[in-house]
């Protein structure tokens, strides 16, 4: 296992070694090892409090209290569960935020066209629906052509239909730009629909991993996925008592 990790380290885009994080004596992350290859989609699942969001925040550079080692590419985009738009900047200016140079507005417009919001360039964020705001947030994360996209439950606050549409959008964007994606989610189906690898975090470490080789977009009812779903839910402890399900 260690040999494999070392072999991977050369080609890995993200590598995390023995990462720990404590909050007031409580170990939220307890020696996490993880690698992500370029262009790979990895879903991080776990029950609430399992440390998955903390891991993402550490990798995004938002939490400086962790010990251990990690490498992430400098070109990384982040999308949060709340779209986190500047309400006082129009949609296009939100996407162009932090871009420099003459063509920043053209670049932002192109990114908004990709997420299907070309007719909202001059809209104020408060006039957008939840799904639209989240698409703006994705466009903003993609506009720098990141090698790594960190997504922290970006669809968690959306309704079921919008969420499915967002899955398709993310896959389409991924196919075009091929960033590696680290997706934090609590939704097993979402993880199985999108990811090459579903990594389960429990008690602050990686407890289980499921690889999914099926081509995307995937049929939700595919028998392979059904098996993997049951195994993952078992690992999450969901079926321990209600085994008859």
């Amino acid at each position: 296992m260690t040999a494999l990790a070392e072999a991977n380290a050369g080609t890995a885009l993200v590598s995390v070694r023995n990462l720990s994080r404590e909050f007031n004596g409580r170990r939220v992350l307890n020696g996490v090892d993880l690698t992500v290859a370029p262009g790979q989609i990895v879903a991080l699942i776990g029950r609430s409090g399992s440390g998955k969001s903390t891991l993402l925040r550490v990798l995004a550079g938002l939490d400086h209290g962790a010990t251990g080692e990690f490498d992430v590419p400098s070109r990384a985009g982040v999308a949060f569960q709340d779209a986190r738009l500047l309400l006082w900047r129009r949609v296009r200016d939100n996407v162009a935020l932090g871009l420099r140079g003459e063509s920043r507005h053209e670049i932002a417009e192109a990114a908004l066209a990709e997420v299907g919001l070309s007719d909202h360039l001059r809209a104020w964020p408060l006039t957008l629906s939840g799904g639209e705001a989240q698409r703006v947030s994705l466009a903003r994360a993609l506009v720098r052509e990141p090698e790594l996209l960190l997504l922290d439950e970006p669809f968690g606050a959306l309704d079921a239909l919008t969420r499915l549409a967002m899955h398709d959008l993310v896959l389409a964007l991924w196919q075009r730009h091929r960033p590696a994606i680290l997706l934090v989610t609590h939704d097993v189906d979402e993880a199985l629909a999108l990811a090459d690898r579903v990594v389960l975090l429990a008690d602050g470490r990686i407890a289980y991993e499921e690889r999914v080789a099926l081509p995307r977009p995937r049929e939700r009812e595919h028998p392979d996925l059904a098996q993997k779903r049951i195994r993952l839910l078992n690992e999450l402890g969901v079926y321990q008592k209600g085994a008859s399900l």
């Binding site: 995004a60 550079g61 938002l62 982040v78 949060f80 709340d82 986190r84 500047l86 309400l87 006082w88 900047r89 935020l97 932090g98 104020w124 964020p125 408060l126 006039t127 957008l128 629906s129 799904g131 639209e132 903003r140 309704d159 919008t162």
Partner: protein, 302 residues
């Protein structure tokens, strides 16, 4: 989907209300309703604005009638018509005792403008320092909190000793009066900016200047504008008080002279000018507010 959600919002319906499904709301209905709602609201607004004029006009009328029926002598309470006549006399026929109204106004307005610019500038600078760094907060905030509790007008005699009886002590008093509310509101505006937006600016690798322009200033602006209006009020008040003590020019001097010569009509003219100037600056801030907070107000208008 979004058009329907927005229409539902306009109609005051719950966004996810079970009663409104996509089939229930045809695209025609909300659009038509929005079209009707907007002008009706506008008509109601102009109506209510017209209605708001009634009571002040009635008051002016009663005031004028007290003179017509000789209820109160014009020496004590000059009627509005007399205030207007006196004002035009002060403009077109200046006397040695009072000078000209426009001259007095120019002196007062200049004091106000200089004092306000000084006070507002210092307040904004200090608010940025205190709002953006812990060290700045620890250094600046206690000083301002101390100054805040100082009785402003108790400083007038001290200022006269220090700065004489010219315009300088008045300007400084206006500056002090203007700075405190603007500082307090801007500082608290900066501190109440959602911390998640600073995370965002970190993730987007914004530099200090970009963060200031895109996050700090616009984020603190609504509260800062509230402070601006309060500070304009405080600045005018400081000017009126400062000008009446030991003045040798300006509207306050005119009031002092009028009191000596028992000319209440002149006092009323000066007070009216103060009032109009105060209304003017308030109106300017409201214009500013409408432009700067368009991201909120446009939504209300939709």
């Amino acid at each position: 989907m979004s058009a329907i959600e927005r229409a539902a919002q306009t109609l005051g319906l719950p966004r996810d209300g079970p009663s409104v499904s996509e089939e229930d709301v045809t695209p025609v209905a909300p659009a038509a309703t929005v079209g009707i709602v907007a002008p009706a609201r506008r008509r109601r607004m102009s109506l209510s604005r017209g209605r708001r004029l009634i009571s002040p006009l009635v008051l002016l009328g009663i005031w004028q009638l007290t003179n017509a029926f000789k209820l109160i002598s014009p020496e004590k309470l000059p009627p509005p018509s007399m205030v207007v006549t006196t004002a035009s006399n002060l403009i077109f026929h200046p006397t040695p005792a009072f000078g000209s109204l426009q001259g007095a106004m120019a002196v007062s307005v200049q004091r106000f403008a200089l004092g306000f610019a000084l006070g507002a500038g210092v307040a904004l600078l200090l608010a940025l320092v205190a709002g953006l760094s812990r060290l700045g907060e620890a250094t600046v905030d206690p000083l301002v909190q101390m100054i805040r509790t100082l009785p402003l007008f108790g400083l007038i005699p001290v200022f006269i000793v220090w700065f004489g009886i010219g315009s300088l002590p008045k300007i400084l008093l206006v500056a002090l009066g203007a700075s405190v509310p603007l500082y307090l509101n801007t500082y608290s505006g900066i501190r109440s900016i959602d911390g998640r937006l600073f995370e965002l600016s970190h993730v987007l690798k914004l530099n200090r200047r970009e963060r200031l322009i895109n996050v700090v200033i616009p984020g603190a602006l609504p509260q800062a504008l509230v402070g601006l209006r309060q500070s304009l009020g405080a600045a005018w008040l400081s000017l009126v008080v400062a000008e009446q003590i030991n003045a040798n020019a300006g509207l306050g001097f005119m009031i002092n002279q009028a009191a000596t010569f028992l000319r209440n009509d002149v006092i009323f003219v000066a007070l009216t000018v103060y009032t109009l100037l105060g209304l003017l600056t308030d109106w300017i801030v409201r214009l500013l507010e409408r432009r700067a907070l368009a991201w909120r107000t446009d939504l209300v208008a939709q």
